[in-house]
Amino acid sequence: MSDARIPLPFHEAAPRALDDGQLRRNLANVTSSIREKRAAMTSEMPDWEALRDAGKAIKEHTLANLGHYLEQLEASVTAAGGTVHWARDADEANRIVRDLVRETGTRDVVKVKSMTTDEIHLNEALAEDGVTAIETDLAELIVQLAHEPSSHILVPAIHKNRSEIRALFLEAFDLDPSELSDDPAALAGAARRFLRERFLTAKVAVSGANFAVADTGTLCVVESEGNGRMCTTLPDTLITVMGIEKVVPTWRDLEVFLQLLPRSSTAERMNPYTSFWTGVREGDGPQTFHLVLLDAGRSATLRDEAGRDTLRCIRCSACLNVCPIYERVGGHAYGSVYPGPIGAILTPQLRGAKQDGELPYASTLCGACYEVCPVKIDIPSILVEMRRRTVHKERAESRLPATSLIDAALRGAAVAFATPRRYEAAQRLARIGQAPWVRKGVLKNLPGPLAGWSDARDLRAIPKQAFRDWWRERDEKQEMDA
């Protein structure tokens, strides 16, 4: 994978996103609305926590026995008339798909939204052969027409408003402005007409997969619009690209994930459409089926005890919607297919580009992501561990001094916080020492290396009376009154 595909590092991209008022309004709107709905949909389930525990346990078990289940999946899919391919990295996966598409002789491929094929940049690879891959998910189509990457796992076009979308459609579908309003229903209708013809004529579809059942060889795609059903049903050939971590042992295991995923993801009791297919079915659906199993950093992540849990992720995006950082900077700032808290730990492991080391710092460690994760990935702990590794690595490469002002400050803090008496003494000292930098009750323009911190944050000055002093005074007063 060439570095040219890797966009701006987070510390450069984030401030740009923060300056975009439209983006921030859209993001706040989307994240808060999905957050509320998700909370309602999960709290009505009396066994939600039990489902989370089961989801975690099944994924943990599967990952521990991943080799066994992948071989089993290969055998089942093959027995059902499908062909299984193994791809160590993105280039290998792209080459396999390009060859398969070339064999069919088609120039047009319809695609179901798939993060895995975004991750490997499959569309660009197909374009090298003159093959056009049309994204059929409405939001993916919008960002494809705008030549932009998605900004949210679930709603990739939340950074676009209706008038921008109308302008894109007018041009792409070759419509007269009088033929299309900016009403979302009209826009969806225009996309339906445009894509219906593509579905009816496409020879080849490319999809991802939400799950694959090892013992039956059954693939599963979860969706809302029906484009997934179209793509997995109408074309002659179906090519599914799937990360190796998506396998589950048995059909029964899906009873857990199909309850966890829609409520966590779109905050629905169930998503409108879920398609399951097993190899090839005579006279029904694609008569040629290929499954490409993609590693691309996953087995390396599996080897890492701290990072392994990341592979449990079912790509629901609940952690994005609760993240105070994501809510403000949006998906593009993370410079990866996988944004938000899960992206901050997944991207450095799967892609491992130099700049990805700063992604684990794009977090306040508030823990909200862990609270909502349907498979209980302890994202905050993994973030801390990855920060630790970044520091160690940078020290080993002498990009960071062996010891720094931050270490000294943290060591100082450890001393000060160790006993109540020390803490109060430090507070008294700080109250006196802060005077030159207090502006309207806020600490501003701190000196030296602290400037970087105070420039971007409002730290309240230490008040004249601390809570502890007030409490003590109150007790004394009450005693006197008594």
Binding site: H68, M230, Q259
Partner: protein, 220 residues
């Protein structure tokens, strides 16, 4: 040749990565996993049907409750209301219900996608339905048709028998298991297709049938 190399290399890497954590007998370890969530719902049959109907209505589905003897006339009525003149009737669709299609032009479910696109509606049965999530599951069994048949036409009229309605998801997956093991394609439908991709405004009906009608047969 290189495909075999990739396979071997990936399996070796996974084997090394799972050293010390994998089970000697994965199937036994899997069977021992605890499933502390609800396996069956607590509602009685009447409450189950009420909930199923409530969920469907919530998704914007037209639901009617009726007796088996009234299904044919209800089909005729609904098709007339939608001005459907060309109707897909899958193989194995109960003839007692099918008479409701009447003299309208009939298409078999193995019609080409292009022919299906010209049809106005599809009538079908289903395999199982889930009350808690308002889901209808098709497993390509008799009367349900090939997948394209319930997908391409703009109206899907589905007959659900009360005995097919279970309370929770695990009951449905258990009922579907034999079909899955036999290699049948399965489709879960929970309301008509929808998108919220434009400014989070919910638009019902994108690519699947924009109208989903359910006839809930209470005495079957």
């Amino acid at each position: 040749m290189s495909g075999k190399d990739a396979r071997r290399a990936m399996l070796d890497a996974i084997q090394a990565a799972t050293e010390g954590v994998r089970d000697d007998d994965p199937a036994a370890a899997h069977a021992a996993l605890t499933r502390p969530y609800r396996q069956v719902g607590e509602r009685d049959a009447a409450a189950r049907l009420d909930l199923f109907e409530e969920r469907l209505v919530d998704y914007g589905v037209d639901v009617s409750r009726l007796h088996a003897s009234d299904v044919a006339s209800a089909i005729d009525e609904e098709l007339a209301r939608r001005r459907a003149s060309k109707v897909v009737v899958p193989l194995g669709f109960p003839e007692a219900y099918g008479v409701g299609v009447g003299a309208r032009e009939r298409l078999a479910d193995d019609a080409s996608p292009r022919e299906l696109d010209a049809a106005d509606a599809t009538v079908s049965t289903c395999a199982v339905a889930i009350a808690e999530t308002g889901t209808i599951a098709l497993d390509a069994g008799a009367g349900q048709g090939r997948r394209a048949a319930s997908l391409v036409p703009d109206v899907h009229l589905c007959i659900v028998h009360a005995s097919q309605v279970v309370a929770v998801v695990p009951e449905a997956t258990a009922r579907l298991e034999p079909a899955v093991k036999a290699g049948a394609p399965i489709t879960w439908i929970s309301g008509p297709s929808a998108t919220s991709d434009i400014e989070l405004v919910r638009v019902a009906g994108v690519h699947g049938p924009r109208t989903l009608l359910v006839l809930l047969v209470t005495d079957a």
